[in-house]
Symmetry: C2
Subunit: 249 residues, 2 copies
């Protein structure tokens, strides 16, 4: 039988923690002396170990109590779970480690770390959007200006613009067999650039970002796919080449 302090020492917690666990009924002392002292025995120690194991996983104490409270509590299954969780944690940590490494490279050599990986290992999902949005295309003011411009058009003008857009995209599909490098494809990209002017005038970088965006944004992607499953990809390529040539000159 151990007193609070003794238990606290071997388990690496403070007496207050044990008081707390007693208070919330998570870990009652095996016996309470007439003097009110808490005494902990073997089983209490084992239970404490379980508790601390789960605590390592950031499970709320309430959860832990429920888990340990199930009268059919299967220690083995719990421990196996625990193992898996720990494994996942370790994997995530490793992920973070590589992210840190990438960031180091990024900062060091100003390498191109596509801004995608900046948060890898932090959030599990939807980092793809970042790549798109990071291109400053969706800078709120830009978007708003673009919307204002669009709303300024008359209904018939809108129709005409949309039709022109559709024409461009279907023409693009038509020249896909000729390849993204072909003069035909490049000419259409040129038309597309003019077309964009109805919304706003992107510079070359923004232009390629926009084409890139068509691949990432599901909203766009779906519409493109209706015309041709590879259209978005083809367009990105063509625009990339277009931009490279313009920049080169």
């Amino acid at each position: 039988m151990f007193t609070v302090k003794q238990v606290a020492r071997v388990a690496g917690v403070t007496p207050r923690t044990l008081h707390h666990y007693d208070e919330i009924g998570l870990l009652k002392p095996s016996r309470v002396g007439a003097n009110g002292y808490r005494y902990y025995g073997e089983e209490a120690m084992l239970r404490l170990q379980q508790i601390l194991l789960y605590r390592e996983l950031d499970l709320p104490l309430e959860e832990i109590r429920k888990i340990l409270g199930r009268r059919d509590f299967d220690v083995l299954a719990a421990l196996e779970d625990h193992k898996k969780a720990l494994g996942r944690r370790i994997e995530r940590m490793k992920q973070l480690l590589t992210t840190v490494d990438k960031t180091i490279d990024h900062v060091k050599g100003n390498k191109k770390m596509s801004e995608q990986g900046l948060f890898e290992g932090f959030s599990e999902e939807e980092q793809e959007r970042y790549a798109l949005e990071a291109e400053k295309l969706y800078e709120p003011e830009t978007v708003r200006a673009s919307n204002r411009k669009w709303k300024g058009y008359s209904a018939s003008k809108k129709e005409q613009i949309l039709a022109e857009g559709k024409a461009i995209y279907s023409d693009l599909v038509a020249v896909m067999p000729k390849g993204a490098h072909s003069p035909e494809a490049q000419a259409i990209v040129e038309r597309w650039r003019m077309h964009m002017d109805y919304f706003w005038t992107p510079d070359l970088d923004q232009l390629s970002g926009l084409a890139q965006g068509y691949n990432n944004d599901p909203r766009f992607k779906a519409n493109f796919d209706k015309l041709h499953p590879k259209l978005a990809e083809f367009m990105r390529e063509a625009v990339k080449i277009y931009v490279a040539r313009k920049k080169g000159k």
Copy 2:
């Protein structure tokens, strides 16, 4: 420039977290629109990454702010630190994982996992005491009774008892060459058992636990070592044999 929600999504936090960081001055938005909206740019994102990295290490936000606030703050050095810290964390997790594994074995086969390792990975130190104390020797009441008994003796009686103890131990050293199995050694163990009666009367299990304890408790160990570096170990062996024989019969 991103709004709270956008940033929150890619970074894997909630908007509220960003509000909070703004409030406490940990991460101010790059710009605040006339409508009061927060907009975050590239640098803010990088700073947020730093913050989250440190947060992973369980540093309080206040600390993080101080670290990032140092005007000579070296991002590279900090990232290198991160790497090391993450490495250590991963190691600790792996430690925990093996502890869990050991516990699984323990539970599964009821293997002897010496109860020592029970808290490995939790507290770094002083788990040795556990092994000793778990033997129920140090059950508070027992100890108290023992102490009371001891205090009841007169000073001269105490002297005599201590002298007897010393004699037993040095006699034991004398017979060490003969081995723990030797009748000489076993006779001394018998004397020692009688001697213990001055404090309290342990049963056979407690007797071997006590001898075991002499090896683990540094306080005892130090005194034994003064007589002979292997005395504690020898005694544990001798008592083990003694108990085994008594139990066998």
